[in-house]
């Protein structure tokens, strides 16, 4: 047991872990060219193990295509560093006035590691485009999709029955929550292109809905990791009512609200069915009053853009105005709204909406580390001064 403790608290382990971290960042950066930042983060930093493969685009790929370099992922490295630091503290450091600065620095570092883990696990990012003069009460994640059945029969509200697309595995059946319906996935395409069959005749596997009326055909495509592209998630689903199958529909996030709703009827009830970007609804609406956009003279390069908004909360006491611009996000109800982009001839503003319960922790940890350094330096400085006085 003593050996284990010695191993985990050794400074040598710290050095080794930090060196591997350097390698992880290096190889992650190499792969970012191929997979984009989002996928690389998942692959390298939000994982326990990762293996770097020799890129196909590099010279001599034919001879070296087998080359793999396995290494620990971000979670494992971060976790080990955390254990290492805590173990070192418990075994080697004794709390004393003279070392209080070091303690503060280390505590800040531990907090930083923990906050990074919290952010990875708990933070949710999505986007909210709002047109000037209009309101929106939800944001969308363009990386995640959901299959929804919407019951619009009530006069006061709509009811959404949502199934994450991770449940749509071909051949399996899943119940639609709180409805008499279930869904059997016939085919699932993580990315596809929808087109019209030249004669409008072919309808693939669908027997009902838009695919039939519009003669749509599906061409599967490779998943894209590009920053500015989306995956057209598409599926053929068979919907089963209490008395048996109702038909097969084609659903896709490209068949959005521009198209007539696809409706499923069973008994005397009806639901709109759609596969869409995952939505996050809020108990408030953001109204965009005005979007302003200044460019450097004679160029298309923006130097400032800002959105004037009113937040209409269902609780009218919380209704307020705000101005959102670069580096000046709006923090509201545990969410942060960043000015991310704009579109539609400057009439649509796009906000990045981030829910990160641990957003304050990095600030606290940096503050602690700064304070620790100041204390430690101060202590040494005072000692030095005293010594000098003693010698003089």
């Amino acid at each position: 047991m003593k050996l284990v403790v010695q191993f985990f608290s050794s400074l040598r382990l710290t050095v080794v872990l930090l060196s591997i971290s350097l390698a992880l960042i290096f190889f992650g950066t190499l792969d970012q060219a191929e997979y984009g930042i989002w996928h690389t983060q998942k692959l390298y930093f939000q994982s326990f193990f990762v293996a770097w493969a020799y890129p196909a685009a590099w010279p001599a790929h034919e001879q070296l295509h087998w080359l793999r370099i396995p290494m620990p992922g971000g979670y494992l490295l971060g976790g080990l560093l955390l254990v290492n630091l805590v173990a070192a503290h418990v075994t080697r450091f004794k709390l004393s006035a003279g070392k209080s600065g070091v303690f503060l620095i280390h505590f800040g570092l531990i907090l930083l590691l923990v906050s990074e883990l919290l952010t990875n696990l708990l933070a949710v990012e999505s986007q909210m485009p709002v047109d000037e003069g209009s309101r929106r009460n939800y944001s969308e994640s363009y990386r995640e999709n959901e299959l929804v059945f919407i019951d619009r029969s009530h006069t006061e509200f709509d009811t959404v029955h949502s199934i994450p697309v991770s449940y749509l595995n071909p051949g399996t059946t899943i119940d639609v929550p709180d409805t008499p319906l279930s869904v059997r996935t016939v085919e699932f395409y993580p990315n596809a292109e929808l087109g019209r069959f030249p004669g409008g005749e072919s309808r693939g596997m669908a027997t009902r809905g838009a695919a039939v009326s519009m003669g749509l055909v599906v061409t599967p495509k490779a998943v894209t990791y590009a920053e500015d592209a989306i995956n057209t998630v598409t599926a053929y689903i068979e919907i089963i009512g209490p008395d048996g199958p109702l038909g097969t529909w084609l659903v896709s996030n490209v068949l959005d609200e521009r198209f007539p709703a696809q409706v499923v009827e069973s008994g005397n009830r009806a639901w709109e069915v759609a596969l869409r970007f995952k939505r996050h609804y809020y108990p408030f609406e953001i109204e965009l009053i005005e979007f302003s956009h200044d460019r450097y003279p004679g160029t298309e390069i923006p130097f400032n853009f800002s959105s004037e908004v009113i937040i209409h909360h269902t609780d009218s006491n919380k209704t307020r105005k705000a101005l959102i611009y670069m580096n000046h996000p709006l923090r509201y109800e545990g969410l942060t709204f960043y000015q991310a982009s704009f579109a539609n001839d400057d009439r649509t503003s796009i906000f990045q909406v981030v829910r990160n319960p641990g957003w304050l922790l990095p600030y606290v940890s940096v503050l602690l580390m700064g304070l620790g350094m100041a204390v430690q330096f101060g202590i040494h400085f005072i000692r030095f001064l005293r010594k000098r006085q003693g010698t003089v």
Partner: protein, 220 residues
Amino acid sequence: MGPPGKCIPIRLLTLTVGVVVFIQAGCERAEPRTYRIPKEERAAGNQAPQRMAEPVPSPGEASSSDGMPILPGMQREAERAENLVYTVPDGWEEFPAQGVRQANFRITEEDGSAEVTVLAFPGEVGGPLANVNRWAGQLGLGSITAERLEEISQRHTISGEDALWVRLEGEDERIVGAILPFGEGTWFFKMQGDEATLRDHEGTMKAFLDSVRLEDRARN
């Protein structure tokens, strides 16, 4: 190592187990669920085509994480687009075509303004009735039946092809426009704006449509 040292492995173990449990909890995938939302108008999404299809400019760092979708089918139709030729009427201010917007104009007058857009989409996009209803939704009008559509529409020829000319009157705003099935897609010519402006420019809109020449590359 003194007595306190003995409990260190236990502390370490607890910490490790804690971290693992925490990660497990976080990695759990989202579950199917049911939730209520305030009543929403489906037509509220009618701004989507323009928004979705327009390439988002890149304002430095801020939008690097911004993945606004350019829908593949739509963009392809726009790129494949037939040659569009037209004459810009006097008093119309033209803006560059973007995404599925093949042409963009703005009319500004003392007592109001209007916007003219020319859009092209693949397929029938739900047919004339659904699209006229989409426009009706933009004016806050109730849904329009097939019989009512007969009353508010007439045939109009654009570039030698049969199109549907529609006039819709909302409380403050009006829409006049034409829906033209052409080749493998559908073209939408729409003028939307204040009542007074549309009254003055309805004739101009028809003259504009008469000047439109489309060439289907797929046919040649």
